[in-house]
């Protein structure tokens, strides 16, 4: 929830992007201006810029690298001075210990099920609603869209207590349904798809299909869905990550180890009185690796999603 909420929020602010002051060029002396422009274009980042970026990269990557180092060590090696900074040889053994201590395989499957279901649902329903808001005319459209935007900022996580009571009523506590159901839709997805389809879907195409007698749903299925694909990938990646990393609600509602998602299993490992650090960090690494794989493959879509969210609106 949090990550999408963040992406959202960034979306609305810069909405008046085109109305910003300073659009008008300053009165200038063309000769000097052209020269300045050339200088600006030529301005190459110095060595300091690259050095800073390398340092940033180091700080970004190091904690993740370090979890790998600890995961590949014997627990006693961690007590050494200086602490180890190079990987050891105990990785496989530690991985086996993780799977022996908690049903981590089950947790991985649970997380895939939850995140997969949530992602499919969010992308589908967001595209459906986004299509309606972007291209169909209906009474109350404006008010309803404003409602969607407004709800993006509402900290729904504060509703956990009645939500828990609701799950008790439905007898869904300690099942994956309890985790999936509240994630099936989110306001950010609807807003994101509305924005995208507004620009990407030519109204004339829809008109033409209508003239040819296509029903609205047929237009959705055969024209809107294919058009929405690039945005669906972005929304899908962001949603999947958020669902995979969700922790607070699954922790509250899941109580038996075979229902745990990865995050809850991970926290249960670190909850004991005596913590086996190399065990905990091996599990952390295992929980993070699938995300790193997704990131390596689709990271650039994430970046464009975050940056689009910031500019559009």
């Amino acid at each position: 929830m949090t990550s999408t909420a963040r992406a959202t929020a960034s979306a609305a602010p810069s909405s008046p992007g085109s109305r910003r002051p300073g659009r008008t060029a300053l009165p200038g002396r063309p000769g000097r201006r052209a020269r300045a422009q050339l200088r600006l274009l030529r301005e190459q980042p110095g060595r300091l810029a690259y050095l800073t970026l390398v340092a940033v990269l180091f700080f970004s990557g190091f904690p993740l690298y370090y979890s790998f180092v600890v995961a590949s060590k014997d627990n006693s090696a961690l007590a050494q001075i200086p602490p180890p900074v190079l990987p050891g040889a105990n990785l496989v053994e530690n991985v086996e210990r993780v799977f022996a201590t908690v049903p981590f395989g089950t947790a991985l499957v649970n997380s895939v099920l939850v995140s997969g279901a949530v992602t499919a649902s969010v992308v589908f329903f967001s595209t459906l609603a986004g299509f309606a808001f972007a291209k169909l005319k209906f009474k109350g459209a404006k008010v309803l869209l404003v409602t969607v935007v407004a709800t993006m900022m509402v900290p729904v996580q504060l509703g956990v207590i009645p939500l828990y009571m609701l799950m008790v009523e439905l007898e869904w506590t300690d099942t994956l349904w309890a985790v999936i159901a509240p994630g099936l839709v989110n306001a950010f997805g609807v807003f994101f798809m509305t924005q995208y389809l507004r620009g990407a879907l030519p109204g004339s195409l829809i008109e033409a299909a209508r003239v040819d007698g296509a029903s609205t749903f047929r237009i959705f299925w055969q024209i809107v869905m294919p058009t929405a694909r690039p945005a669906a990938v972005v929304l899908g990646v962001l949603t999947f990550l958020t669902a995979w990393n969700d922790y607070f609600w699954p922790l509250l509602v899941l109580s038996s180890p075979d229902q745990y998602t990865v995050q809850v299993a991970l926290s249960s490992l670190s909850g004991g009185y005596v913590t086996d650090q190399s065990l905990v960090l091996t599990a952390t690494m295992l929980a993070t690796l699938p995300l790193l794989a997704v990131f390596a493959l689709l990271g650039k879509y994430m970046i464009s999603g975050i940056m689009q969210g910031a500019v559009k609106g």
């Binding site: 963040r6 904690p63 900074v85 909850g271 790193l292 990271g299």
Partner: protein, 325 residues
């Protein structure tokens, strides 16, 4: 356009009787009228049931002595709120939360601005640097909390080792109020700095180049350009990142919980509650001892109020900065 061809072929071939065309027309009108509402219904229905209703119902529950363990829900009015406001642990949690919030958000957003500014230059390998910055955001809060708890460990933590080799003493990060807040703020900042930098970068790219050319002609250095030209122009974006960070920061949970070891020490946020946040306090009362749902709901609504107040203050503060400069 294959569908078009298929659909038109039939009626054109054999002219349909008037009644049929009327029926078709009615169906068309119905489709046109009802479809939009049908398409937005799943969102609004599900969001109402699992999002808005619980939030609203929290208010009702908060006025009751309400426990999951008993069927009697005694109306107590503002009783829960009175108890809450007279509980020193609540004020402690509020103070901790605000302290962590400031320690995490201010350096984070400043660093994000500088990073974004750096990235506006014509760098080689743009995508590579951007992905590098976003990397921490991919890790889950749980993973971040676990890894940083190890790094900030008293005896074998890497941070203490570095401090020691630099000649400073070891720090028991968990024990102190300020030190534990710094450690937790570091987790939040590490995860979100790159993310915010990307948002700023997007906003900066939308600033027209002429403005910078003019500033350049006036002899402004790159740093001056950032603070005198860029910052005022991307102010709406800055306001929003600040507000969103605030909303997120006021609900911080996993970081302190796992920093305290996840067990009972995690729930109270350290032995003397030195880093118990508001959400941990809610968790302690609502789910950790006896399901005091009425009281925990009062905590939730109070948090809601705090979030609104802090977000508004945030907004006013940042607007003020702009009008001063």
């Amino acid at each position: 356009m294959t569908l078009a061809a298929k659909e038109t072929a039939a009626p054109a071939a054999r002219p349909s009787p008037a009644s049929r065309s009327r029926r078709q027309h009615r169906r068309y009108r119905l489709d046109l009228k009802a479809s939009p509402y049908l398409y937005i219904t799943p969102f609004f229905a599900l969001f109402a049931v699992f999002g808005l209703f619980p939030l609203a119902f929290t208010a009702w529950v908060s006025t009751h002595e309400w426990s999951l363990l008993s069927d009697d829900h005694v109306f107590v009015g503002f009783g829960n709120y009175r108890t809450l406001l007279s509980d020193p642990y609540f004020w402690n949690a509020l103070g901790n939360t605000l302290s962590i919030l400031v320690l995490a958000t201010v350096p984070q957003l400043l660093a994000a601005l500088l990073l974004a500014h750096l990235l506006t230059q014509r760098l080689r390998g743009q995508t590579f640097w951007r992905m590098g910055m976003l990397l921490p955001n991919v890790a889950s809060v749980v993973a971040v909390a676990v890894i940083f708890s190890q790094l900030f460990g008293r005896d074998f933590g890497l941070v203490n080792w570095v401090l020691e080799s630099l000649g400073a003493g070891r720090i028991d990060w968990q024990a102190g109020s300020a030190t534990s807040h710094i450690a937790i703020a570091a987790m939040v900042a590490w995860k979100w700095t790159g993310y915010n930098a990307l948002i700023y970068l997007a906003a900066m790219q939308a600033v027209p180049r002429e403005v910078y050319e003019a500033a350049h002609l006036d002899g402004a250095s790159r740093m001056q350009q950032l603070f005198l030209v860029t910052v005022p122009m991307i102010r709406p974006t800055i306001v929003f990142t600040a507000i969103v960070s605030t909303i997120y920061g006021l609900q911080v949970f996993a970081e302190p919980q796992l920093f305290g070891g996840g067990g009972p020490n995690g729930v109270t946020g350290g032995a003397s509650r030195q880093f118990q946040t508001l959400t941990l306090y809610l968790y302690e009362h609502g789910f950790n001892r006896g399901f005091e749902f009425g009281y925990a709901s009062a905590v939730a609504w109070t948090m809601f109020a705090v979030i609104v107040v802090v977000a508004v203050l945030n907004y006013l503060f940042i607007r003020r900065i702009r009008s001063d400069s």
